[in-house]
Symmetry: C2
Subunit: 113 residues, 2 copies
Amino acid sequence: MSPRAAGADLPAPLPEPAVENLRLETVFGALSDPLRLEIVRRLLLESEDFDHTCGWFGFDRPKSSLTHHFRALRDAGLLRQRQYGLERRSHVRVDDLNARFPGLLDLVAAWKP
Amino acid sequence: MSPRAAGADLPAPLPEPAVENLRLETVFGALSDPLRLEIVRRLLLESEDFDHTCGWFGFDRPKSSLTHHFRALRDAGLLRQRQYGLERRSHVRVDDLNARFPGLLDLVAAWKP
């Protein structure tokens, strides 16, 4: 069992839509920005079995801007975020998205900046 | 050969991005609106082998609003439009979208308003 799946010792996820409330138009809206597509793509393709802070990405953007984009992705149901002290760490809600929108994450993974 | 495929006797398509210039983030942006998702879904699922005017959909919206939404879908590369006198008729660029973004149209077809 992965540390993430164990769950009991992780901070609770920040507020997010339940899987049954995910909406395709909202997910598309969140992914209509190249930076947000890149965030999801890199989390999908490069992350290992742990969550990442926005600093991990190395984007040359103000932290407030990144916080906004991560929040938009969480609100749309693409990312799950947990607060570790002063840091938020994120991962893609792969199982939920594959259950509701099969093929969506393949499109994101294949995207080229 | 269908009348559409024959091509020679059809008006030229209105300006649209070439298939190699389609961008996933732009397509997602155009589909982030429920009305636009519905337009593409209905053209996919209900249209036969001819193009449709925006009146065919029976939407209770001003014509100027519909014209705007169809134009946004054409600019993003989702629809091809041809001018027949005073009317524009539209169909989904199925082959182009399947070539560039496999699975995208399945997501749209499965969408529920």
